[in-house]
């Protein structure tokens, strides 16, 4: 079955590739038509004019304030819902700087977290990673707050028709910068075996079955690169909306589990910084843009 599928796939791939060459290539469709370019000399009132005239300068020398609601996506164990705000100032219509920040007011458990809580199994081999399945939601990592600074780059801007009745200006805002994320993780601990065979964690001292260490939490600030893109649409001279995707990858121990030792080996019987794994953290923002000064300028 698998061999047949590979052969079929190869045939389909080659057939589609050849067909695409024939369809898209100029030879079949244009006959003797040959592609060439020439300089077009525009005369009259449009001579030497830019491609766009009477351009509304939405950003140049203006301050944009954007309160937003955001939620993280692609999380393994916990999803954060965030309220925050962003401030941007643009020196040019296509270049600006900004700062943003927000706090998570709710952290939602993912389906995987609920599955582990309901069906996880604790044995002597995995006691450090899962001392108790009932308390597992309390050992996973959470995002508490985040802030950052970005450089904004807006090369694409234009106008949009909706249902051929409503028209508004829109642009694509690319940004890159640094993010500071306040997170809570499971505290460092290590497991030991007592002479009587009992498994203990330290700290806290004499923590039988590591149940105490499962609930011990520590906070830190993770520094991460931050980048993304936003679609911004303006309905008034001073107001618009933004839908923004932001990524801020960094290493953290999302599950509170023993994943690796200092040399990458597993398990090492300790939960510490070696167990942090790189996560491609992402969030979606939906915000309202308020622009100051409210009066907009246009080009010639």
């Amino acid at each position: 079955m698998m061999n047949l599928a590979r052969k079929t796939l190869s045939r389909i791939g080659i057939t589609v590739a050849v067909a695409s060459c024939l369809l898209v290539g100029d030879g079949l469709w244009s006959g003797t038509h040959s592609a060439s370019a020439q300089e077009v000399h525009v005369t009259g009132p449009l001579a030497d004019k830019p491609a766009v005239m009477k351009l509304r300068l939405w950003r140049k020398n203006r301050l944009q304030l954007e309160p937003f609601f955001a939620f993280t996506v692609g999380d393994d164990y916990s999803r954060a819902l965030i309220f925050g705000g962003e401030v941007r100032f643009s020196f040019l219509d296509w270049l600006g700087i900004g700062g943003w920040g927000g706090g998570s007011f709710v952290n939602l458990n993912t389906d995987l977290t609920r599955q582990v809580r309901d069906k996880g199994v604790t044995t002597n081999r995995n006691r450090l990673s899962l001392p108790s399945r009932e308390n597992f939601p309390d050992q996973v990592g959470r995002m508490n707050w985040m802030a950052g600074a970005d450089v904004h780059f807006t090369p694409f801007r234009g106008k949009l028709a909706m249902f051929q009745k409503v028209f508004f200006d829109a642009d694509l805002d690319f940004f890159v910068g640094a993010a500071f994320v306040g997170i809570t993780e499971r505290s460092d601990t290590s497991i030991q075996v007592a002479p009587d065979g009992t498994q203990l964690c330290d700290p806290p001292a004499m923590d039988t079955g590591c149940l105490g260490s499962q609930l011990a939490r520590s906070k830190r600030v993770a520094i991460a690169p931050s980048f993304g893109v936003a679609f911004q649409a303006y309905f008034k001279e001073f107001m618009g909306i933004a839908i923004r995707w932001r990524a801020f990858p960094f290493k953290w121990n999302t599950g509170g589990t023993d994943e690796a030792g200092p040399d990458g080996g597993f398990p090492d019987g300790q939960i510490n910084s070696s167990d942090r794994q790189r996560q491609f953290n992402q969030m979606i923002n939906i915000g309202f843009i308020f622009v100051l000064p409210p009066k907009i300028k246009t080009t010639d």
Binding site: L23, Q38, A51, L130, M162
Partner: protein, 304 residues
């Protein structure tokens, strides 16, 4: 890597063809002027006649100034009439076929990656509505080689098995609607047209569970699942017949996973191999591809 030969060839062909397509759009040759047809010639003739008629009136007016008595000329009244200059839509879709090869990537399956190669075909029966089909092939070699590290972590840290399914293909019939149409400028120098569309339809997904909990005994066959999909897409016109597009689609279906429990007494009974109930599965997919509109040329029909 051999399995991706078809995709590589296709993308290479599209990339190779793109510059010449753009170049063809930029041509301002005599052939293109002549292609505008008899309407253009008729306009030229009318213009020429009008010019000659203008000369005659000037001659008559000059003669009147010499010969006839002056008559009172009625004062000219300005009529206020609003005339709108509406730019033509860059590329019409009406009565055109659309062929769209694409690459598809599932973004919400934490346990198994599902890269796919897709082809869509649509017919536009209005300028904003189309009906069509799309097909995605997912079956590329051993699916376990596409598993993520999260599966191992769950097994190791929580002693849990993760039931996972592999997919062979999906086939859907769809409606497409284009409510958004716009144009963007880049640094005030380059203009490009784009639109955004909504898409949805119904079809099938062909899937089967990968035996994880009792792989020595259990073996599953491919099975069809009814599937619905909705999505939103963005299409950027490179020429009037070639576009780049990206879509965000949710392919929904009821998935039958492997039974996580193994009954030692009935281990060989295939009726115990599947889970008792189906699971509603959202396959959130991002697709990237190119669209070719056929025929590649179209004519605007202006009102008489």
């Amino acid at each position: 890597m051999r399995e991706f030969g078809g995709i590589t060839l296709l993308l290479a062909a599209l990339c190779a063809a793109l510059p010449t397509s753009v170049g063809a759009q930029m041509e301002f040759s005599l052939d293109e002027v002549e292609d505008e047809g008899p309407n253009r010639a008729a306009q030229k003739k009318v213009g020429k006649d009008a010019k000659e008629e203008g000369d005659l009136i000037e001659q008559l007016a000059a003669e009147k100034e010499v010969e006839g008595p002056e008559e009172p000329v009625p004062a000219r009244e300005e009529t206020v009439e609003e005339i709108y200059a509406v730019q033509q839509i860059y590329a019409l879709r009406l009565k055109r076929f659309e062929i769209a090869p694409s690459a598809a990537f599932t973004v919400n399956d934490k346990y198994l990656r599902h890269p796919g190669f897709g082809v869509a075909a649509n017919y536009w029966f209005t300028n904003v509505l189309a009906i069509g089909v799309n097909f995605i092939w997912y079956d590329w070699g051993n699916p376990l080689e596409r598993g993520t590290t999260l599966v191992e972590q769950i097994q190791r840290s929580f002693r849990l098995g993760v039931p996972i399914n592999e997919w062979q293909f999906g086939l859907w019939a769809n409606f497409t609607y284009v409510p958004f149409y716009g144009k963007f400028s880049m640094f005030r120098k380059f203009l490009f047209q784009w639109d955004s569309y909504l898409i949805g339809g119904v079809g099938v997904m062909r899937t089967k569970p990968i035996p994880v909990f009792d792989p020595e005994i259990r073996e599953f066959n491919w099975d069809m699942q009814v599937s619905f999909n909705v999505g939103i897409g963005l299409r950027i016109f490179l020429t009037r017949y070639l576009t780049f597009f990206t879509e965000f689609r949710d392919y929904m279906f009821l998935e039958k996973f492997e039974n996580v429990n193994v009954d030692p007494a009935n281990r060989d009974d295939p009726s115990t191999w599947l889970a008792g109930s189906s699971t509603f599965f959202n396959n959130l997919t991002v697709q990237f591809g190119f669209t070719l509109f056929l025929p590649i040329k179209f004519e605007y029909r202006l009102p008489k």
